[in-house]
Symmetry: C2
Amino acid sequence: MRPPERPAPAVTVLAGGYGAARLLQGLVTVCDPASVTAVVNCGDDMVLGGLHISPDLDTVTYCLAGELNPETGWGLRDESWRARETLRRLGGPSWFALGDRDLGTHLYRTQRLAEGAPLSLVTAELTDRWDVGARLLPVTDDRLRTRVTIADGTEDNGRGTGGEIGFQEYFVGLAHAVAVRSVRFAGAERARPAPGVLNAIAEANTVLIAPSNPIVSIGPLLALHEVRRAVMGRREQTVAISPIVAGAALRGPAARLMAELGHEPSAVGVARIYAPVAGTLVIDEQDAALAPAVEAEGMRCVVAASIMHTPAHAATLGRTALAAAGRAEPARR
Amino acid sequence: MRPPERPAPAVTVLAGGYGAARLLQGLVTVCDPASVTAVVNCGDDMVLGGLHISPDLDTVTYCLAGELNPETGWGLRDESWRARETLRRLGGPSWFALGDRDLGTHLYRTQRLAEGAPLSLVTAELTDRWDVGARLLPVTDDRLRTRVTIADGTEDNGRGTGGEIGFQEYFVGLAHAVAVRSVRFAGAERARPAPGVLNAIAEANTVLIAPSNPIVSIGPLLALHEVRRAVMGRREQTVAISPIVAGAALRGPAARLMAELGHEPSAVGVARIYAPVAGTLVIDEQDAALAPAVEAEGMRCVVAASIMHTPAHAATLGRTALAAAGRAEPARR
């Protein structure tokens, strides 16, 4: 499914779901899409009703295909919900929204995996069929599952109190409205990076860490020892973009999760997480005053407008991040 | 899911898909639905795109729920096909029509089976939620798969020539437009009847064999040694309805399949198949002249209008079949 010749990788993006999808949507307008590789989280993957669902891969795919539902930020535009209506009537697991169009993707992926195709090959097939110009690689073809231990005594909509649950049960089923005690990435110690992942990191001119949740979106990628070591080896060419702006996440539970797990929910807290792997952090203009504190963590700090209101903003942010990496290199000579 | 008290079983129907569904639709208007049990073929079951699909159970369920698509005779009425459109766009297995509403049933079943529920329990849950008054039992909770060997040199739409394929690949994928060399029921030697099946046969006042395909719809049921022995034990109370009228099946490949496998494609051929297990055969008025030949096979023959143009015709046929069983008993005294 891979085109026989690709340009040298200009940029490799460590990616979660929505924030990464938006950044990539901008990047492919400022780089040759064929020179852009996204290494995507698959720790959120799950099996529901027998179907293998890869939420972050799908969000990035649909966004780059121009098919992402703009209202929800996940799933396909122009979606219908008839399968889910039946499932709800039958008392089945309807907490995870499976759209009718979207189901075609899950059916395709599940069928191919059952036939023995690795997730990376299925992803190449899907992105080809959805006309995604960039290359998407799941971080691994092996089983990797983000598991969340929620605090005892938590109101959890009847799903049992405390204990460890799958990421989507936490994120979607409980709408991440519960206190988290710990997060782990089951399978990370044995999972091998998918074919192409290590090369994409080693050979890119620039490695970007998308403004995704550092703990549950980027965390699963860096939990693979070989991936973490590869990114550390490119630290000077690696630019992270803070997903925390003015102490809050633009979307999702990143700030709350950071605080609950002992991190400062700020661009400085993000710098502490990424300092070992990235030489540069892009923070938002609203956080300009934090630049010295970020630099005190050992990262170069670039202040920029980082909120991607439109694809044009995303393109500007992509250009800024690539330029930041360009600036980083002379500093090392 | 089972109501705590049920009336004594008035009638147990050995059932395939459409023909059985129509007969049952009539029967529940002439008996208390709660006293009707259908033992349903699940040799046609398959896994596609990760989903466990039970075509005959679904056809009977949807028909008794008043939800069967009247134009196709399978699937749900008021159906849409958006998942299938995506699957087709992606190049996935779109030969089997998965409707959007219908997908909810498959997702529910697959999820429950993955949780460890046996198919009979899942079927009880589904029929309860779809408001089916009769009791539906899959013939077995174990794996039973109808396998079809198609003849060499057959035009088979590019799916390879000759060799053994799954029933749905033959029936739907190849539109049963290929010559069949043999049929077998993989798993039948080890499969145990589902809970309730043997009692439903032993305790019913009447056992009916629906006008389903004798080879690939009723065949899988009788391939279970214990089921066949149970029905043989009720031979005098067992009434089969011929699915072959004037040498042809009203629907599907029964006549062609019978001929290819060495049976006479007529009511007499049906009598030869069922004579060991059923004391009576109902044949259509058009075949009245065959009654002596049927009786020569050792079955009582009842001639009746057997084509179920409407639910009212089906009710009349049901009444006829029950009366035939009633008539059979005095003959034994």
